[in-house]
C-alpha cells in the first residue's frame, strides 16, 4: 500500500500565550541579541547550531533530528501587518485570517467544509481540548471537541459499563431523527445523533491503538498522543487540532526555566508523535504545523519578556523540504516594529496558503481572504 495516496492530514499544535521566537530560533552570533537580553539570552555554547547564525534552543535536540533528516521547516518573522498585542485578538487573527475586522469563521472550519461539504464524516475535523478554538468554527460544520479521548463520550458520569451502555441506547433512540416536530427540535435531534455517532467512533480509538512510543504525561503529550491515536484508527479525520495549556507560553517572568521546560516537553512529544506514526507506517500523509499568536519583546524585562510581534513557526513532515524560510527580522532599533518588537517579514497567511494549496489541494484564496505568496516548503511531487 502506498501511503502517499491516502488523504492528506493536517495536524496543528497551537503554542498558546506567545512563544518567544528569539529564544527559540536564536540569532546566536548577533551582538544586538545579547545586548537586548542581559538576563535571558541563551549562551552561545548552549545553542544547537543550525547554521553559522541561527541555532535552536538547547532543549530542542529532538527537533534537531528532523532538521538533520531534512523534514523540519522553520519559518522566520511570521506575523501580519499592524500587530495586536492582545492574546485573544492576535489568536483570533490567526484563526480567522481577518486582521482588520472581527471575523467569526475559522480558516480550518472552512477547510473542513471544503473537504466534506455535506458533513458525511462527523470526524473530518477533531479538536483536542475543552471548547472549540475559533480556527475550527463555522456554522453547520460539526467538529468533535475532545477533552479526554480515554473518557470521551456522552453521559460519561454514569457509573458501570452496562448502565452507561443502556443509557446510551436510550439516548440514541431519544435522538433518533424525527420528522414533523418543529425545526429547532429536528435540528437538535440531528445534532445529538451526530454527536453520539462521533463519540461512538472516537471512543474506540484508544482500544485500537498500541505503540512502543511513549509520550510525556503533560497536556501536550496527552493530546499529541490522542491525535496519533485518532489518525492511526483510520476514521478519515483530515484536520486534527490541539493547543498547549492556555497561555502557557506567556513568559513575562522567570522565562529561562519556564521556556526551557515548555520546549523540552513540546520537542519530546513532537518527536514521539512523528516516531509513533513512523512505527505504524502512517507518517507520510501527515503534516504537523506549530505556531503561536505572537512573539515577544526584543529586550527582556529582567526576568522574562513582554508581548511582542513577529515570531517563528514550524512544519514537520515527510513531504517537508527541510530548511529555513524567510529572513530574520532586524534587531536594529531603526528597523524594529513600533514598541521594540520584531517586524514581520512573512505573512502567516502565506504559510496557510501553501498548506492549503500544496498539501490539502484546496483553493486558498477564499479561506485566507486574499492572495498570498506561497512559501515553497513542500515537495509538490
Amino acid at each position: 500500500m502506498v501511503s502517499t495516496k491516502k488523504d492528506r492530514v493536517l495536524a496543528v499544535l497551537s503554542l498558546s500565550g506567545g512563544n518567544d521566537g528569539l529564544n527559540t530560533i536564536v540569532p546566536y552570533t548577533n551582538g544586538m541579541y545579547r545586548d537586548a537580553r542581559p538576563t535571558i539570552a541563551i549562551p552561545e555554547n548552549q545553542v544547537i547550531p543550525l547554521n553559522d547564525q541561527l541555532g535552536l534552543h538547547p532543549t530542542m535536540a529532538p527537533l534537531k533530528k528532523f532538521w538533520d533528516e531534512g523534514k523540519l521547516a522553520i519559518f522566520l518573522g511570521v506575523g501580519y501587518p499592524t500587530p495586536s498585542y492582545s492574546h485573544f485578538r492576535s489568536m483570533d487573527i490567526w484563526h480567522t485570517c481577518e486582521p482588520e475586522k472581527i471575523g467569526t469563521e475559522g480558516w480550518l472550519g472552512r477547510v473542513i467544509k471544503d473537504l466534506d461539504p455535506k458533513s458525511d464524516n462527523v470526524l473530518t475535523g477533531v479538536n483536542f481540548g475543552r471548547g472549540l478554538p475559533r480556527a475550527l468554527a463555522k456554522d453547520g460544520v460539526p467538529v468533535a471537541s475532545v477533552g479526554n479521548l480515554e473518557t470521551y463520550g456522552l453521559l460519561t458520569g454514569i457509573d458501570g459499563e452496562e448502565q452507561r451502555g443502556e443509557a446510551l441506547e436510550v439516548f440514541g433512540r431519544m435522538y433518533s431523527p424525527t420528522v414533523g416536530r418543529n425545526m429547532v427540535m429536528d435540528y437538535i435531534h440531528r445534532t445529538g445523533s451526530d454527536a453520539l455517532k462521533g463519540a461512538d467512533i472516537l471512543s474506540t480509538a484508544p482500544g485500537l491503538y498500541s505503540s512502543n512510543v511513549e509520550y510525556s504525561s503533560s497536556v501536550v503529550g496527552g493530546y499529541m498522543k490522542n491525535i496519533a491515536q485518532t489518525h492511526l484508527a483510520g476514521f478519515g479525520s483530515r484536520v486534527l487540532y490541539t493547543t498547549s495549556p492556555y497561555n502557557s507560553f506567556d513568559s513575562h517572568a522567570n522565562q529561562a526555566s519556564a521556556h526551557a521546560a515548555l520546549w523540552t516537553d513540546v520537542s519530546r512529544n513532537v518527536d514521539s508523535f512523528v516516531e509513533d506514526l513512523r512505527e505504524h507506517n502512517a507518517n507520510e500523509n501527515v503534516l504537523l504545523f506549530m505556531f503561536s499568536e505572537f512573539g515577544r519583546r526584543i529586550t527582556d524585562n529582567g526576568s522574562g519578556t513582554d508581548h511582542g510581534a513577529a515570531s517563528v513557526a514550524f512544519a514537520v513532515g515527510d513531504h517537508v523540504k527541510g530548511g529555513i524560510y524567510g529572513v530574520y527580522p532586524s534587531l536594529e532599533p531603526g528597523k524594529q516594529e513600533e514598541g521594540g518588537n520584531l517586524k514581520f517579514s512573512m505573512d502567516f497567511r502565506s504559510v496557510y496558503t501553501t498548506i492549503l494549496e500544496d498539501w490539502m489541494g484546496l483553493d486558498a484564496k477564499p479561506i485566507v481572504n486574499g492572495n498570498f505568496e506561497k512559501v515553497k516548503f513542500l515537495q509538490t511531487a
Binding site: 498585542y85 492582545s86 472549540l132 456554522d139 453521559l155 458520569g157 431519544m174 435540528y187 437538535i188
Partner: protein, 475 residues
Amino acid sequence: MDNQDIALMAHLLRRAGFGASRDEIEAKAAQGYQATVEELLNPEGQPGVEEDLLMRYQPAYNEPAAIETNVQQWVYYMINNPRQLQEKMALFWHMIFCAGHSKIDSGQEMGVMIRMFREHGMGNFKELLKRLSTSPGMVYYLDNSESHKTAVNENYGRELLELFSMGVGKDDAFNYSEDDVKACARAFTGWNIAPAFPPFPYGRSPWEFRFDPTDHDDSEKSFLGNVGHWNGDDVLDMLASQPATARFVARHLYNFFVADEVPVPSWRLVPPKDTKAIADMEKAYFDSHYDIRAMLKVLFNSSFFKSEAVRYAKVKSPAEMVAGLMRMVGEHREIKPGIFEISQEPKYMGMDLMNPPTVEGWHTGHEWIDSGTLVERINFAAQHLGNTQLPGVKSMVDRLMASRSAPLSPEQFVDGCLDLVGPLDVAAETHRELVNHAQRGGEAKHRTAAEKTDFTRRAGEMFQMIAATAEFQFA
C-alpha cells in the same frame, strides 16, 4: 399546592432569574406570583450578595484585574445573587451592548461594564445609553477614542443606531440614513478616554471617560430630520424618543425573556411573533418616559408571558445552563473552591462571557447548539443532576420517595422525576424511552434501607437521562 402555580413560578424564575431549587420554587409560589414579580422588579428592597463576607474569602474579587477573575465573580453572582433579575439584566445588556475582552484587553473594564449593567439595567433607557456612551470600555471597543473632530471614525455612531437603539428598520422601512450615521458619529467626537496612567509599578488603574471640547465637532448637523449643533447628549435625547427604539428594546426583551425570535438582522422585514405583546411594551416605554422596569412589569404580568405556549420555548444560553443547574442542584450556593472551573463551563459550551465574538453578539436560539457544545451541555448537566449527594438533588429524591408510600410504577417514577426538574414536559417519544428505561428496574420501592439506596441510585440515573434529553436544552 396547585401544580399549575408551581409550573408558572418555575417559568418565571427560569426567565427572570437563573432558575431555582424545588424548595425555592414552592416557597415563592406560596408567596404568590404578583408579589414575586414585584420583588424581582424592586431589587433595592431585597438583600443582595453579602459582599463583605465574599471579599473575606475571595479577596481577589475586590476590583479584580484578571479577566478570569471577573468572569468567575460574575458567575458566582448569577448563582448566588438573591436579586436574580438584576443579574439577568446584566446578561441581557451584555448580549446587546457587546464589548469584548479580546479587544479591550482589560478584565477590570469588563467587570466595570457588567457592574454598570447590573446596577442600572432596569432603569431609564436614555440614562443607560448615556452610561454606555461614556463607558471607557465601550468608547475604546467601538473606536470612539479614535474619532476626532478632523477625522471622524463612524464605528460607534453606526453601532449605536444599528445595534444599541433603533435597529436598521421596522415594518419594512429603514429607520435612518447613512447621513444620520455620519451626523451621529460627528456628534460623539470628543467623547474620549483620559490618558491612562502607566501600569507600572502599581498595576493598572481604572480607565476614565473624558469629554474633550476642543476635539468635538460642534458644527451644524442634521440628525433624523432635526437640524442643530448636536452633541452626543442631543442625539441620545432624539434616539430615546423614537418609536423605532421602543420597538427595538421591546423585541429584545421578548426575545430574551419570552421566546426565541428570528435573528436581529431580520427584524426590519420579519414582524414580531406577537405584535400585541410588543405594542404593550412600547406603550409602557413611552408612558413611563423610557423606563425599562415599566416594560418588564408589563411583560411579567402579561398573559403572553404566562402562556403555556412560551414555556420551554427558548434554547438555554450556556450561562443559563450552568448557573441554572447550580441553583437547581444546590451546588456553589456558598463560597467554596471550584467556582473557577464552573465559571469556565459556559466558554466550553460556546459562550465566552465578557468576550462576545463580535459587536453583534452571540448567535442565540438553536445556534447555541452544535455537536461539540451539545456534548458539553449534556455531560455537565448529567454530571450534576445525577449527583444525589448534592443538596438540591437529595431533596428531589426525598420528595419523590415522600410522594407515595407505596412503590412507584415506572411511569410514576419518570413523571415524578420530570416534575421535579421542571416541571418539564417531554415529547411522547422521549417519555416512552424514559419509561422503557425505568421499566428495567421494575417498581421503585423505598421501604427498606437497601430499597432506598437502590431508589436513590435509580433516581440519579433517571435525572441524568432527563438532563440528556433535547427538551432539557430549553428554558
